[in-house]
């Protein structure tokens, strides 16, 4: 039994590794994703940390020089040049009696004119409103002081926030995306090989010859799954190494947190993903055998892989974590995130989901081996 498995496994590995285009197609994902992500992150970080200049139209600016100066200090400038790239279609209208009202200590009207349904303007409008509010508070405080009143009387609550986040735990969303890309490698790196070795093998007529030999269909399925899982794990190792290098180049310090891929994390990730790789391989073999042709298998496998992807997405975007964190893939990804953050591992969830993953692997393998006993499946009838 074991010996035959070894023979079958060796053949699958040789056969698959010579299919260079399929192997590379899978590995491009593992190499490309971390690089693409780091480029995106770098751009995003730059945007977050240095607010871009904002130019608006201010009507009657000469009425309120100190307000305009305050806005300038917040990098909100006035311009009359219609072709200025930074000019947003936001107008701040300062009323004609602004100076008079200001002098007399009455509310002076400024009108903010903008289309609030325009998503692109939303954050700019917020910025202007904040700047106006802070100017309002500043002037009001000065007025109270000039009347001999302590301005703190205007503050009923003194809100103090103690941020308990460690630098590593702050990057929640980024961590989610990083681990998502790592988990997905396990599914996508060997997808072509999985289809080729099952639906492809049937189409090339070698499957029926294989089944005519004295071995059980379960041995064939297990050897195939093991070979596919090996390539998935190769993809995983590559994405971990590439991630380690590229994440080191992202200017994390600007955000006050960092994602560092340590050798311990790489080992942990390898151990956690091994059962997932086996399950993914057996699932893809199962779906490919269910399809009647190679092309059909390609569509179905792509569709089915949407399930693990959405589970992983749910973890990434932190939806329904209470229940979902017990479900395979989501739970393992959660454990990976907690590991990077340096938090205690969710051991019961991890153990249970790993068990379920292995049970799914057995179920899919068993179902595939059952299918190989059906003449309809073997001959694609």
């Amino acid at each position: 039994m074991i010996n035959l498995l070894k023979v079958l496994y060796k053949k699958e590995i040789i056969d698959a590794s010579r299919d260079k285009r399929s192997v590379m197609a899978g590995l491009y994902y593992a190499i490309g994703t971390p690089i693409a992500m780091c480029l995106l992150l770098s751009v995003l970080l730059q945007q977050l940390t240095s607010p871009e200049g904002l130019k608006i139209t201010i009507v009657n600016a000469e009425q309120a020089p100190s307000l305009v100066a305050h806005l300038n200090a917040n990098e909100i400038q006035s311009t009359n040049d219609k072709n200025d790239e930074l000019l947003k279609s936001i107008t701040l209208n300062i009323s004609d009696d602004y100076q008079k009202n200001m002098r007399e200590g009455r509310p002076a009207t400024v009108t903010l004119i903008a289309d609030k349904s325009n998503d692109k303007l939303g954050k700019h409008i917020n910025r202007i409103e904040k700047a106006l509010a802070s100017y309002n508070a500043e002037v009001a405080s000065l007025r109270l002081i000039s009347r001999g009143i302590d301005p703190s009387i205007m503050r009923t609550l003194a809100v103090e926030t103690h941020d308990e986040a460690t630098p590593d735990s702050k990057g929640g969303m980024f961590l989610g995306i990083a681990t998502l890309s790592i988990i997905l490698t396990v599914f996508y790196a060997a997808m072509n090989l999985a289809i080729d070795t099952s639906a492809g093998e049937r189409e090339r007529n070698s499957l029926s010859l294989l089944l005519s030999h004295p071995l059980s269909s379960l041995q064939i399925v297990l050897a195939k799954s093991a070979a596919i899982a090996s390539f998935s794990m190769l993809g995983l190792v590559i994405i971990l190494i590439v991630s380690k290098i590229t994440y080191g180049l992202v200017p994390w310090q600007q955000l006050g947190f960092s994602i560092t891929i340590t050798p311990t994390f790489m080992l942990f990730c390898f151990a956690v993903c091994l059962p997932i790789a086996l399950m993914s391989a057996s699932l893809q073999v199962f779906v490919s055998f269910m399809a009647k042709s190679f092309k059909e298998a390609q569509s179905y496998v792509t569709m089915v892989l949407f399930i693990p992807m959405s589970l992983s997405m749910i973890t990434t975007y932190d939806i329904a974590t209470d229940i979902i964190q017990w479900v395979p893939i989501a739970a393992q990804q959660y454990a990976l995130i907690e590991f990077i953050k340096g938090n205690p591992l969710p051991v019961p969830q991890l153990v249970l989901s790993t068990l379920i993953t292995l049970i799914l692997f057995s179920v899919f393998s068993f179902l595939s081996s059952r299918m190989l006993k059906s003449e309809k499946v073997v001959f694609g009838l």
């Binding site: 023979v7 040789i14 029926s208 010859l209 005519s212």
Partner: protein, 244 residues
Amino acid sequence: MIKVTNLTKKIGDVNALNGLSFDAKNGQITGLLGPNGAGKTTCLRTVFGLLKADSGETEIDGIDVAKNPMEAKKNLGLFPDPCGLYERLTPREYITFFAQLSGLSSVKAKAATSEVIKKLNMDDIADRRCQGFSQGQRMKTALAQAVVHNPSNVILDEPTRGLDVMSTRILRDLLIQLKEQGHCVLFSSHVMQEVAALCDHVVIMANGQVIAQGSVDELCEKAGKATLEEAFIELIGSDEGIAA
């Protein structure tokens, strides 16, 4: 020895096998002769357990294929149609792989592979990948795979298709050699000359049934014709499929 008793098999709405019975004895070459669509391939696939008969029995060396497939298949060499090559493996790897699946140890499989490669004159292609092989080279590789583990029963589905004269002669010599060593050789064909030249026992089938069986001479005598071809047409009652 291969024994088929009363096989029936329905594929879709077609009765592919319709109460088929015949024997293929050790030390004999048995030819399964029939027009296209007679059920030859279905019959052979049932013998090596890929298809399950609706009723009837298939025995290899006295072992029921349906009840004990693993044991039965151990004594079987198979040359399928189509060949089922692995395009990315070399013939040497391919033959060794199947030799190991048939139960040979790694060392023995390698030795047997070298031997069969020599026997079939395929040293020149043995270490090239199968991709781009000619039909004849494919057939030789598949044939080597069928006999590498020296099985007591060899089943060949249309073994001469696409072979040139030289390769056909090699195949013929190989089959005769197998027969002399006491193996049971069963092959399907619709090429009369091939069957006439090789077979000790001919089973003529049409519509999933055995029409007649016996040696070439017996069949000619039975039909009252001089050649197997004429006897064949006389026996199945039409000239359907002969041209193929």
